[in-house]
């Protein structure tokens, strides 16, 4: 049975089912959404356990690495195929997506009161779009999924977001669109010219037979990298991110930070590095510089924030800088670190956004100054917040450490200067997170309204603890996950010639 297609399209089926519901059937809509996303997770577990980690050792292209491959003609006129498959990197990201989505949906049950049905409808369509991006092995299919998730995300921010949501939603869609259209030109160029004597959008074939001239690589790298850099977002293309994050509803922020941004970094590993290796080498210096600027800039700006959600949003810029630094280190440690850091960031930052959402729902403010001494009133909340914050900082034993350590080791091999500057980002992260923690949780209770706060509900506990399980798992025994992506990363490195 084709579990990959099932995983991708199950949420869409759920969304269609939801259309059949009556407009006011809020409860049914919630149940359908939670049930489909949980079933999707179950289907993806089949992929996870069925994945053969040993497959594709010493591979030089995608052909040997892909598992659960499906390849059917879609539009024969242009030689477009419905071609999907997973390698180690995409499997990890698919798992992250299917894991986070049901938690987001469950977490939204109380906070979303208006237009309930539409909200979950958009969320499920979004999930299909994201999963499709990670699994697509045909460039047109990839592009369609890549753009198709724009509309539901636009609606999630624009309809269910905060006070300045409209501005944020429009900014989000325009920024991403600018990047993607140039990528479309790049895709078309590949179609006509990548494989001699053949017109193909098939990524596997382009990996195998593609001969892309060195002079063209620079342009292609640019066209693809811009789309991905905006999505990541790399400094200086990051300005849409804080707006989108701050205005999006909690679950929207989680999916945005946790998964959507990974589409950008995934794009770099999947397209920019292995397809245009010579250009990647030429641009590596610049990309590492931008990554380090992003790490430090993001951290410094986080430090100055008075709004908790904004703080977490800017910390994403910093963390994604680590991912990019690792990827462009062009060695095993750096790239593996970058890959695992994608997952780490999805878990830790997702959890942080969720935690900020929890207190926002109770007090309707996210200002740090409105809190203080919360630890006495919400001890469980405070404990979990501490663990998540420490994981984000990179405390040994938790997931963040593994990712950042590997990235820094990898970067040090290539460029000690950048590694030293990047390491300061870890220090800054400790400063802004712990300082925020101190102001929110310790000290005297200065606001009377805070005295009536209630601690975590059962649902919230289940959601947070299930994320914590993975935070600790990756921190203690990362091999479970590193071994999945190892062969894929090795393939990218082989193609980079190192």
């Amino acid at each position: 049975m084709d579990f990959l297609s099932l995983t991708i399209f199950l949420p869409l089926v759920g969304a269609l089912l939801m259309l059949a519901l009556r407009k006011e059937a809020d409860k049914a809509a919630k149940m359908v959404a939670l049930a489909t996303s949980t079933l999707t997770f179950a289907a993806s577990l089949v992929l996870f356990f069925g994945f053969d980690r040993a497959k594709g050792a010493y591979a030089t292209g995608l052909a040997d690495l892909l598992q659960f491959e499906v390849n059917k003609p879609w539009i024969e006129t242009l030689n477009i195929h419905y071609h999907i498959g997973l390698d180690g990197i995409s499997l990890l990201l698919v798992m992250l997506t299917t894991f986070i989505t049901p938690l987001c949906i469950w977490g939204s049950f109380k906070s979303i009161k208006q237009g309930v049905k539409g909200y979950y409808l958009a969320f499920l369509i979004l999930e299909t779009g994201i999963l499709g991006v990670f699994a697509a092995m045909d460039l047109v299919l990839f592009y369609v999924f890549w753009e198709a998730m724009l509309i539901p995300m636009y609606l999630l921010i624009g309809v269910w977001g905060g006070p300045n949501r409209v501005y944020a939603a429009v900014k989000f869609i325009l920024y991403t669109m600018v990047g993607s259209l140039l990528m479309l030109v790049g895709i078309l160029w590949l179609y006509f010219n990548a494989v001699p004597g053949e017109h193909t959008f098939d990524l596997v074939r382009i990996f195998q037979l593609g001969q892309i001239p060195v002079e063209a690589q620079a342009y292609l790298f640019g066209a693809f990298a811009l789309a991905f850099a905006i999505k990541v977002p790399m400094f200086p293309f990051h300005t849409w991110l804080p707006d989108a994050h701050v205005e999006a509803p909690t679950a929207g922020s989680i999916i945005l930070a946790g998964v959507l941004l990974k589409m950008g970094t995934y794009g770099f590993v999947r397209f920019c590095l292995p397809l245009f290796p010579s250009a990647a080498h030429d641009y590596a210096g610049l990309m590492m510089l931008l990554a380090v600027i992003g790490i430090i800039y993001g951290a410094l700006v986080s430090m100055m924030q008075t709004d908790m959600k904004k703080l977490v949003a800017y910390s994403s810029v910093s963390h994604l800088g680590f991912v990019m630094l690792g990827l462009f280190a062009f060695n095993m440690q750096g790239m593996q670190g970058g890959t695992i850091q994608m997952i780490n960031h999805g878990l830790s930052t997702g959890a942080l956004f969720f935690l900020v959402g929890v207190i926002y729902e109770r007090r309707h403010t996210r200002m740090i100054a409105d809190y203080g001494g919360i630890a006495k009133i919400m001890p469980k909340y405070a404990t979990i917040f501490m663990i998540v914050a420490l994981s984000s900082i990179g405390l040994p034993g938790l997931n963040g450490f593994i990712g950042e350590f590997l990235v820094l080791v990898g970067a040090f091999k290539t460029s000690p200067t950048y590694a030293i500057f990047a390491a300061s980002g870890v220090v800054f992260a400790a400063v802004y997170l712990l300082w925020m923690y101190q102001r929110v949780f310790f000290g005297e209770i200065t606001h009377d309204a805070n005295k009536k706060l209630t601690d975590l509900t059962t649902a919230e506990k289940v959601i947070l603890v299930s994320i914590l399980v993975f935070i600790v798992w990756i921190g203690v025994y990362p091999s479970t996950f590193l071994s999945i992506s190892e062969n894929s990363v090795a393939m990218v490195l082989t193609r980079l010639g190192g």
Partner: protein, 490 residues
């Protein structure tokens, strides 16, 4: 060349059927008193459905007829089917506005005779007569609401600009005739290649013809009439204007491709350069103009100018490479885009018409909160607008995809980049409408409406389906249509 015979006349079955049907309609319109519009629309609809089949049946009779004045080929067939189908949807939209009046339908159908003739015209004279046959009923349609000053103004502008551009085009025709001594389009192209190609007169002739045909498709700088006429005309007629006469202009343009392509650079101006320039100007002007509009009708008018510019991008490739695989790819791209444009643009205008009739206006304020009190029409309009913006997985994306594919293959990078910049700009104003519909609360709340929105009626519901479904479907499964178009070009 073959003489006029019975067998030859059989080539004109669609035109003859139309003319006959029109006579019947005129008589019926004189006899009946009530519901004249509904009856005219129904009869016209039946006629058009028959025409689609008659046109499709004409597939085998490829060749030149009437001393070479008319040609029957895949292009003729494509445009006949296109015109019949698009008119069918258009009169459906008009039927809601003109329940008691038969004249608008008769005018539209008589315009369609001109379009059918245009689809097969192979001669300067046929071409000119056909274009005028399309135009003249359109002038009357624009001014159909005589007592509305805006409608009268629209008609006057349309006529004046139309007469001016017809004059320019005729002058261009006379230059080409003077250069070659021929009126048949293929003969002129041959003659031009043989002796006069590269002369200034050749260039001037082509520029003048482009101006004349460019007027029909609202190509910059012959577009000034377009926003005013579209705004002043009754909305359901604007819907028709935005698709049919425009497509007719493109049909004419395709017939003169060999003539344009025969131009060798004069004073450094080449045919491709010329088309590239007007294409870039047309889409840029259309998109920049649309940003500032408050009336959604006017906004869509500018957007339709921009879309003409997109189609001209494909036309630039066609002119650049007069034969071969890429030539066919570009042709497929352009024709495919026209089909997609038909559905999404007619659909968009239909929803605007609906809102205007129910809420009383078409300025963007009337669309605020539409998604809240009328989710279905709002959703449909969102689909059309996202498709016009070219977002996957909608048909508009595939249309642009084909066009950009042709440009990239032809390595016309500058135009491709300009096209992309334009697509981004266009997203801005389309999203603005969607934002107002779904993210804002309504300014104007409909006085009378049923639970869950306007009562749509069977016809409107069917028409919405007929336009929404292809806009969605062609975005994910466009193979058969692309294949069908490709076969017509063989």
């Amino acid at each position: 060349m073959s003489p006029v015979t019975g067998q030859n006349l059989a080539q004109f079955t669609p035109e003859l059927a139309l003319a006959g049907g029109l006579l019947v309609l005129l008589i019926v319109d004189l006899i009946v008193r009530k519901n004249r519009g509904v009856i005219a629309a129904a009869l016209g609809g039946i006629l058009l459905v028959a025409l689609v089949f008659i046109s499709l049946a004409g597939n085998e009779k490829i060749g030149e007829y009437l001393f070479g004045a008319v040609v029957q080929d895949g292009m003729t067939l494509f445009f006949r089917v296109f015109f019949a189908a698009a008119t069918l949807v258009s009169i459906g939209i008009m039927a809601s506005t003109f329940k008691g009046e038969g004249e608008p339908f008769i005018l539209v159908l008589s315009s369609v005779i001109g379009m059918f003739l245009l689809a097969g015209s192979n001669d300067l004279i046929t071409l000119f007569v056909a274009i005028e046959m399309v135009s003249i009923p359109s002038y009357v349609l624009a001014g159909y609401r005589r007592k509305d000053p805006r409608s009268a103004e629209a008609a006057l502008k349309y006529v004046l600009y139309g007469a001016f551009s017809s004059g320019l085009m005729l002058y261009g025709f006379s230059l080409l005739y003077g250069l070659t001594g021929e009126t048949g389009l293929p003969e002129i192209a041959e003659g031009l290649i043989r002796n006069a190609s590269g002369s200034p007169a050749h260039l001037v002739g082509i520029v003048l013809i482009l101006a004349g045909v460019g007027y029909k498709i609202a190509m910059v700088p012959m577009h000034f009439w377009c926003p005013d006429v579209y705004e002043g005309s009754p909305t359901s007629i604007t819907a028709y204007f935005s698709v049919l006469p425009k497509a007719a202009g493109f049909a004419a343009l395709f017939r003169i491709v060999p003539i344009i392509a025969s131009l060798k650079p004069v004073y450094g101006i080449s045919a491709v350069g010329l088309i590239t320039l007007v294409s870039a100007l047309t889409m840029t002007f259309g998109n920049l103009g649309a940003i500032w509009q408050d009336s959604v009708k006017r906004l869509l008018a500018y957007s339709s100018i921009a879309h003409a510019g997109y189609i001209l991008m494909g036309f630039a490739v066609i002119v650049a490479l007069p034969a071969g695989e890429l030539h066919n790819l570009a042709y497929t791209a352009v024709l495919f885009y026209l089909v997609v444009y038909l559905f999404m643009n007619l659909g968009a205008f239909m929803v605007v018409d609906l809102v205007e009739r129910r809420l009383g206006g078409d300025s963007i304020g009337y669309f605020k909160g539409l998604g809240k009190h009328n989710p279905l029409p709002a959703l449909a309009l969102a689909v059309f607008l996202f498709s016009l913006a070219g977002l996957p997985p909608l048909a508009g994306f595939i249309g642009k995809f084909f066009l950009f594919a042709a440009l990239v293959k032809a390595q016309m990078w500058a135009l491709a980049i300009i096209g992309i910049a334009n697509a981004v700009v266009s997203l801005f104003y389309y999203v603005r409408i969607i934002r107002d519909m779904f993210l804002y609360d309504p300014d104007v709340v409909p006085v009378e409406q049923d639970e869950g929105g306007f009562k749509l009626g069977t016809l409107t519901s069917v028409l919405l389906l007929v336009t929404v479904v292809p806009t969605l479907l062609l975005g994910v499964y466009w193979g058969p249509l692309a294949e069908w178009i490709k076969l017509r070009l063989m």
